[in-house]
Symmetry: C2
Subunit: 337 residues, 2 copies
DNA sequence: GTGAAAGCGCTAACAA
DNA sequence: TTGTTAGCGCTTTCAC
C-alpha cells in the first residue's frame, strides 16, 4: 500500500493541492464547505504529511541538535530533559549528539552536520576551541554552552563558574575549615570548566588569606565518580589530610564521599564536601550534598531564545548571556549556624 | 552567500549532476580524470550536500527515534547513551522523544510522528496499550522495549523481569531474610514493569514457603527516589518492620537507603536492600547497591538489529527477543558467604 | 563512463 | 476563496 500524498487527497476531494494544504495548515480563508469536504478526504485516506517534502520546500527542518559529551552523565541528561521539553513546546524536535568528550568527536559533530538537517545547534563543547567551532559553523545557527571564551560571532550562555565556586568555597571557610582541597579536575589539560572552578576556589582562599596549597589539589584521570574516588582515596592513604573538599562536580563529590566513608572519615564532621551541578542524586547521597545549583532552566530557555532569534534571521554579533546559580546547603557542608 | 548545490558544482566542473553525485558517493565507475576535476570543484566551492533533498529522493531520513518517559532518569539516560552510540556507528542519527510517562504523551509520540521523519522508532512505552501503538504505527518500523504484552505484529525486546526479580529475592532468602518487603511500585495502576517485578518477588517467596504479607508491599505515589523514600519512611515510622527490601528499581532503592539511614537502621545489618537496573550510581551509594543488571548493551543491539531488518524490508511477524540479566552483589545485600 | 530529465512530496508566488 | 505551477536539491533510470 502506497503512501498517501497531498495530491491523492486533492484528487479524492476534487480540489487543488493548495486547498488541501490550506486545510492541513488551518489557514483562515477556506470556506466551511470546502474545508469539510477536504477534511473528510483527509480522514478517509489517512493522510500523513511527509516531513522531507515540507522541509525541502520550506528550508526548515523543525529540528534542533543538542550536542555534548555523554548523555549518561546526570548533568547532561537533566539538561537534555529540559531542552527537549522546551524545544517541543516551541515546536521543535531534538536530535541528540554525543561527542564522547574527545576532540575527534566534537570535530565530527561540527563538520559532519549536513546542511538542512537541523535548524540550529546547541553545543556544549569541552575540548575544541570555540574559534574553530565558529569557523565551521557559519551556515547553521549555533549557541554555545559552558565555559571557555566564545568568539564574538557566536552566541553563548554560561554560568559564572568562578563566582559560583568562590561562593561554595567561602561557605566552607565560614564553617571554619582551613585545609580546603579541590578534587575531580582532569589530571592533564583541565577543561575550561575545571579551570574556572579552580580559579574561583583559589580566589576565595586568597580573599580569606589562606595560602593555596598545591598538595591539596587532587585531580583525577577522568571526570567521573570512579576516578575521583580513586585519586582521593589514594591521597588519603598516603596520609594527606584536609578538612574540606571543593569538588569539580557532583560526581566527583559522590566519589569523594565514597572514598571518605570507606576510610571511616566522618562527613561533614571531619571533612566537609561541596559539589557542583545539583544533580537530582545530590539530595539522596549519604550525607546529602551541599552543592552549586546552576539555573539550568534559564540556560535551556536562553539558549533556545537565542537560537530562535538566529533562525528567525537575526544576524548581529554573538551575544554572551549569564545564567544564575545558587548554593544549596545540605548535610555534607551544613549551614554554619 | 547562497548555498552551493550539486548543480553549481556540476556547472563549475563542466560535467553533469549525475557525475558529481557519483563522485560524492564514491561510485566505482568514474574515470580518474573526471573524478579529480569534480573533486577540485567540490573543494573550491565548499559543497555540502543537503540532507532534505537526498531524503526526499531516497525516502530515507537516516534518523531513528528513541522514545521513553524521561531522559533524566538514569536508566533511560544510560540506555540512550548506548543506543545513540550504536546508532551512530550504524550511520543513523538519534531523535529523542520524551513522553513524560503519560498516556497523552505516549499518544502524542505515536500519532504526531510525521511520515518520513525517521526511518524507525524504538519505543519504551509504559501506559499505552501495545495494541494501540501497533495500530497507529503500521507505516514506520517499530521496536518496542520493556515489559507488557507486545502484539504479534510488532518486534519487541525485553528482559525477563519475573525471573530476574525472583533471582534477587532468592538472594535475600539465602541471606536468611524472611520478612522481605517490596517497595517503589506505583500506588495505583502499576506499570507492566512493576507488575512483573512484583510477580517475580512473590514467586520466589512462595517457592521458599514464605507467605506474601500484603503489609510489606510499599508502593509510592510515583516512581522516584523521593517518593520511595517518603513512603518507606512513613511505613517505618508507623512501626512496620522488615529485614529486607526488594526495590522496583535503583532509584527506589536509593530512596530506601535514605529512609533507613535517616532512622538509624543499619543496611545491610538490619535491612538488606536490592535494586533493579544497575545504574552507574549503584556502585557509589553508601552502602553500594546489590542490584539486577539488565544487559542493556544487548537490548540496544537487538533493538537496532531488528529495526534495521525492518527498514531493510523484512515484513514478517513481530519477533520477541529476550535480553539477559545478572545479579550484581554489592554491599547492600552481600554474598551469604 | 557520462548526460538528460523525470520525479520524490510539499510550499508559495501568482493567477484566476 | 481556490487553482496553477514552478521550484526546493538530490537521486536514478535510461539513453548515449
Amino acid at each position: 500500500m502506497r503512501r498517501i500524498r497531498l495530491e491523492d487527497v486533492a484528487r479524492h476531494a476534487g480540489v487543488s493541492m493548495k486547498t488541501v494544504s490550506n486545510v492541513v495548515h488551518d489557514y483562515p480563508h477556506v470556506s466551511p464547505r470546502t474545508r469539510e469536504k477536504v477534511q473528510r478526504a483527509l480522514d478517509e485516506l489517512g493522510y500523513r504529511p511527509n516531513a522531507s517534502g515540507r522541509r525541502l520546500a520550506t528550508g526548515r527542518s523543525g529540528m534542533l541538535a543538542l550536542a555534548f559529551s555523554d548523555v549518561s552523565m546526570p548533568y547532561f541528561s537533566e539538561l537534555a530533559r529540559l531542552v527537549s521539553n522546551e524545544a517541543s513546546r516551541r515546536g521543535y524536535r531534538l536530535l541528540l549528539e554525543q561527542t564522547g568528550g574527545t576532540l575527534a568527536g566534537e570535530r565530527a559533530i561540527v563538520s559532519t552536520m549536513e546542511a538542512g538537517l537541523v535548524d540550529g545547534v546547541i553545543f556544549q563543547h569541552s575540548v575544541m576551541s570555540s574559534t574553530e567551532i565558529a569557523q565551521h559553523r557559519e551556515d547553521v545557527p549555533l549557541v554555545l554552552l559552558g565555559e571557555g571564551h566564545a568568539p564574538v560571532s557566536v552566541d553563548h550562555v554560561m554560568v559564572d563558574n568562578v563566582a559560583a565556586t568562590a561562593t561554595a568555597t567561602r561557605h566552607l571557610i565560614a564553617l571554619g575549615r582551613r585545609r580546603i582541597g579541590f578534587a575531580g579536575h582532569e589530571e592533564e589539560s583541565p577543561s575550561a570548566t575545571s579551570g574556572d572552578r579552580l580559579m574561583g576556589y583559589q580566589q576565595a582562599l586568597e580573599e580569606a588569606g589562606i595560602r593555596v596549597d598545591m598538595s591539596l589539589l587532587l585531580p583525577s584521570k577522568s571526570v567521573s565518580a570512579h576516578e575521583a574516588a580513586f585519586s582521593i582515596g589514594r591521597a588519603l592513604d598516603r596520609g594527606l589530610r584536609f578538612d574540606a573538599l571543593v569538588c569539580r562536580d557532583d560526581l566527583a563529590a559522590i566519589g569523594a564521599l565514597r572514598a571518605l566513608q570507606e576510610r571511616g572519615i566522618d562527613v561533614p564532621g571531619t571533612v566537609a564536601v561541596v559539589g557542583w551541578d545539583d544533580i537530582s542524586m545530590a539530595s539522596f547521597t549519604h550525607p546529602s550534598l551541599t552543592t552549586i545549583a546552576p539555573d539550568t532552566e534559564a540556560i535551556a530557555n536562553i539558549a533556545l531564545d537565542m537560537l530562535e532569534e538566529r533562525i528567525g534571521g537575526y544576524d548581529g554579533l554573538g551575544r554572551h548571556r549569564i545564567a544564575g546559580f545558587s548554593l544549596v546547603v545540605r548535610e555534607s557542608a551544613p549551614a554554619s549556624s
